[in-house]
């Protein structure tokens, strides 16, 4: 579904991505792990066209490197950013409506689905996005992206700053997303959730992939965990 080869990206003169290679197959949950500042979020931003890519990004066999973000989104890629980008002046419902690529879109996700999975969002549907809690914002930003009916979704640090109960809810949502046939690239710092729900994992260090394996592989490999993940 997604195949990245020798991907480089720069912020000014800083060389952030230094030859990233990774792939995600259909229906797979793949986690991208690593310490802060190694380029995980930049990888997502570059795939999404928000940072200028240098290298190859094939999506469903089509080259998408260099395309505009809205064009990439319309090809079926969804992105849940770490900063959430909730529109504060719009209500929860309006935030969700903006997730749809057109007003008449019908896909795998409907607003009623979202409200049944997260009743709290339904209760607060008329509250402005700027006034809801951090956990609600996280749910909203994931659900808003789902409203665009992506086939592949990148979720950047969805559990950051959330209470343990919310972390579990996010985990269940990601599994539900995969059950509906959507491939997931999950960017995480928390190894526990990544081990629990992913089929494969990549670890990034110094702007490129330094390890690839399954959750079982990484559980066994304490040296890798110590060198690239533990703080």
């Amino acid at each position: 579904m997604l195949e990245i080869k020798d991907l480089h990206a720069y912020y000014g003169r800083s060389h952030i991505l230094q030859g990233v290679n990774l792939n995600v197959k259909e229906g797979e949950i793949v986690s991208l792990l690593g310490r802060n500042g190694v380029g995980r979020s930049t990888t997502c931003m570059t795939i999404m066209g928000l940072v200028q890519p240098h290298g190859s990004i094939l999506y469903k066999g089509q080259q998408i490197a260099g395309r505009k973000p809205h064009d990439i989104a319309r090809k079926g890629i969804g992105f849940v950013p770490e900063d959430r980008w909730i529109f504060p002046g719009l209500t929860v419902l309006q935030n969700l409506q903006l997730g749809m690529k057109s007003s008449k879109q019908s896909g795998r996700w409907r607003i009623e689905d979202v409200f049944s999975i997260f009743p709290r969002l339904g209760e607060r549907s008329n509250v402005h996005g700027g006034l809801i809690s951090g956990g609600e914002k996280q749910m909203l930003t994931i659900c808003r992206t789902l409203m665009g009916d992506p086939d592949f979704i990148m979720i950047d640090e969805p559990t950051e700053g959330l209470a343990p109960m919310m972390v579990e809810q996010v985990g269940r949502l990601i599994e539900e997303i995969a059950r509906r046939g959507i491939s997931v690239l999950l960017v995480e710092q928390k190894l526990s959730i990544a081990l629990k729900i992913s089929q494969r994992l990549y670890i990034m260090g110094h702007g490129h992939i330094v390890y690839e394996g399954t959750p079982a592989d990484i559980k066994k490999d304490q040296a890798v965990r110590k060198e690239w993940l533990e703080v």
Partner: protein
């Protein structure tokens, strides 16, 4: 006194809504693109000249529609082929681009229409007093300006709050990257907002060119006031621009009719000092003469004590 109050309020509304038509476009463009468009008042001037020219050919009513559309198209082209190209060099380059554009438009107007003011009269169908109260007449044209401005304000409000494109515009004010990542063509939205804002300035030009004056200096006369409006209202706040437009128009309009000086004010509270020289001259200055500087004084005070403006969210 009642006559003065009533007509000052009505005239404030007329001028305030005209200012809002200009400042709404400017503040929307600033919010979305971070560009302070110094050529915005030049689009107002283009609206006035196009309105004048089209009125000569086919009459005022077609001009009221065609001229703003033309200005809107020019605005959209400026964004698409000018600002978007300059954007990669940063905001200073964008700002200098708009300053240059303002000069180009002004000189272009000079070349085509000359330096003299145009004879751009009130259309006959609106050239009669609507009512006479006490001894003062209120013209139909002023009421027409007010109605057009209110209609545009309501239209703008409905578009921004009730339509999908309005929601996209509102969302792009805070997170343009987030909007494009959801599959919406943000550059296209920027172009539409720039074109729409320019068209609004064009409408203000068509009707304001008759009300004020149609001459090459009209952009330079009104432009600074529009900037004062968006600074006082709060950069990027549409509601702030609305409130500030009415407030600054009221300050200017009311000041014009008040023939009081500092000496009169002191006399009112029983202070009758004897001063001479510069102080005496300062004491004699009447409030009506200070009208043009009051908005700028208000802006300076606002920047000193509340830099984010009346309703803005930015501190800088």
């Amino acid at each position: 006194m009642l006559e003065y109050l009533l007509f000052s309020v009505l005239n404030s509304l007329v001028l305030g809504m005209l200012l809002f038509m200009l400042s709404s476009g400017l503040t929307l463009i600033f919010s979305m693109m971070g560009v302070l468009n110094f050529a915005h008042a030049s689009f107002y001037m283009l609206g006035a000249y196009f309105g004048y020219q089209i009125t000569q050919a086919v009459g005022f009513w077609p001009a009221l529609v065609i001229a703003p559309l033309l200005v809107g198209v020019i605005g959209a082209l400026v964004e698409r082929y000018g600002l978007r190209t300059v954007h990669k060099y940063g905001h200073v380059a964008e700002l200098l681009f708009t300053v240059g554009l303002a000069f180009i438009i002004e000189e272009g107007v000079n070349l085509i229409w000359g330096r003299n003011a145009m004879t751009y009269p009130v259309p006959q169908s609106l050239d009669f007093p609507l009512f006479t109260l006490f001894s003062t007449e209120f013209s139909t044209y002023r009421m027409f300006m007010l109605l057009i401005s209110v209609a545009i304000f309501i239209g703008l409000y409905m578009v921004l709050t009730r339509t999908r494109i309005g929601l996209i515009i509102q969302a792009a004010l805070t997170h343009p990257q987030g909007v494009s990542a959801l599959g919406h063509n943000v550059p296209m939205v920027f172009m539409m907002v720039f074109g729409g804002g320019s068209a609004l300035a064009g409408v203000a030009g068509v009707i304001g060119g008759i009300f004020l004056i149609t001459e090459p200096a009209m952009a330079a006369t009104l432009g600074p006031i529009v900037f004062v409006v968006i600074v006082v209202g709060g950069m990027g706040s549409l509601t702030g621009a609305f409130v500030a437009s009415l407030l600054l128009a009221a300050i200017q309009t009311f000041a014009v009719g008040l023939e009081y000086s500092l000496t009169d004010l002191f006399a009112l509270v029983g202070i009758h000092g004897q001063v001479s020289g510069l102080l005496e001259d300062l004491g004699r200055i009447q409030l009506s003469h200070t009208g043009p500087i009051l908005p700028y004084l208000f802006m300076v005070l606002m920047l000193m004590f509340r830099p984010k403006g009346l309703m803005g969210k930015r501190e800088s």
